[in-house]
């Protein structure tokens, strides 16, 4: 059984949502719909659907919705395939998975091309795409071996699943290995790349760290690859 999880954003983008539903109906892929805004305990609701025999979890929303569901699935032992239908703006995760819009999403879902993706962890929270911080007084320590300093205003991005911006800069990163990539960007073409094989500690008293363009958390943060792997249904044009 397919379980469709609708974010509240689908109310704002009714036309897009309707277009996807029409294609799903035509392909005979209907299933149960859960509206996130009408549920108090999201984890309990998803847990219940998995116990009831959910075969695929289909998320209709943006990066914030995906991050919310990933943080629930990361604490569930079953590995139920997940599919993302991008609705509205801020859909970097779906784009990285090769799902550009809701129009082609139904066909990608019906093809069921699956890839395992490792989930990264920042303290007690999980992220799939990246986390980032912009500030010059950020202290970073990689694999408990070496520290990195930059005097200039610097953008730090820790990548698990590569996004379009990094993909176009030919930066290599795979969400299927046990390595995260730290990208440090200063003005011009001054880019640094460091592999994170164990963990990264970030300390910054002034700025918060942004996970998946969705959630901000306070420093200090310890970032690593978690033991959790989730199967995603992906498109041919994925970035990994």
């Amino acid at each position: 059984m397919n379980v469709f999880i609708y974010d509240a954003i689908t109310e704002k983008y009714k036309k897009s949502t309707r277009r996807f539903e029409e294609r799903i109906n035509a392909l005979g892929l209907q299933g149960k719909i859960i509206y996130l805004q009408s549920i108090k305990n999201h984890k309990e609701a998803i847990d219940q659907e998995i116990r009831n025999g959910a075969k695929t979890i289909i998320i209709l929303g943006n990066d914030q919705t995906v991050n919310l569901i990933i943080n629930i699935l990361a604490n569930i032992s079953e590995n139920i395939p997940v599919f993302i239908v991008p609705i509205g703006n801020n859909n970097n995760i779906a784009e990285s998975m090769g799902i550009k819009n809701e129009k082609e999403a139904a066909f990608i879902l019906s093809a069921r091309r699956m890839e395992n993706v490792k989930i990264a962890k920042a303290n007690h929270l999980f992220f799939i795409n990246n986390c980032q911080i912009t500030n010059k007084s950020t202290n970073l320590k990689i694999d408990n071996s070496y520290s990195i300093y930059s005097e200039k205003e610097t953008k730090y991005k820790i990548i698990n699943l590569i996004d379009k911006e990094s993909f176009l800069k030919n930066i290599k990163s795979s969400p299927q290995d046990d390595v995260l990539e730290l990208i440090i960007k200063n003005k011009g073409n001054d880019i640094s790349v460091f592999p994170i094989k164990k963990d990264l500690e970030i300390k910054n008293d002034q700025e918060k760290i942004l996970l998946d363009n969705s959630i901000e958390i306070d420093s200090p943060v310890n970032i690593s690859i978690s033991k959790k792997t989730i199967s995603f249904i992906v498109g041919k044009e994925r970035f990994f």
Partner: protein, 136 residues
């Protein structure tokens, strides 16, 4: 230019890149290639190759398979295969390698030991200062 130097000219497949505005402190270990355009203090060990660019400032003992130095290095270099030293390079430390090329203008202060892996002959050059003269 040696044929082997051409490898460094197209050296883009690096696992780690240290940009100009970045300082790294500590023990850096890797299995892959490394490009250094910024500063590094500590120790470097890699099974791959290192390209230290013209703006690099390295204060570290270095172990690698191959290396090209175009910037400043203070520390000992232990290169298992090939070491190329560019015209603007300044090295203060001892060097051990199997093959070496030094461009005119490079400065080396230290003991250079070249031990060929193929014929097992070892050449030791003890110097207080090697400074190639590019005015000739």
């Amino acid at each position: 230019m040696f044929k082997k130097d051409q490898k460094f000219e197209n050296f883009t497949e690096a696992e780690t890149i240290i940009g100009e505005s970045v300082l790294v402190k500590g023990n850096f270990e890797s299995n892959g290639n490394l490009i250094i355009n910024g500063s590094l203090e500590g120790e470097i060990k890699t099974k791959g190759a290192i390209l230290a660019g013209e703006k690099s400032k390295i204060n570290a003992n270095i172990s690698a398979q191959e290396m090209m130095v175009k910037g400043n290095v203070v520390g000992n270099l232990n290169i298992s295969d090939y070491l190329a030293i560019g015209e603007n390079a300044k090295i203060l430390g001892d060097i051990k390698c199997s093959q070496i090329s030094i461009e005119r203008g490079a400065e080396i202060n230290g003991q250079v030991s070249i031990s060929s892996q193929t014929n097992k002959k070892e050449k030791d050059i003890e110097v207080e200062r090697i400074e190639t003269d590019n005015s000739l």
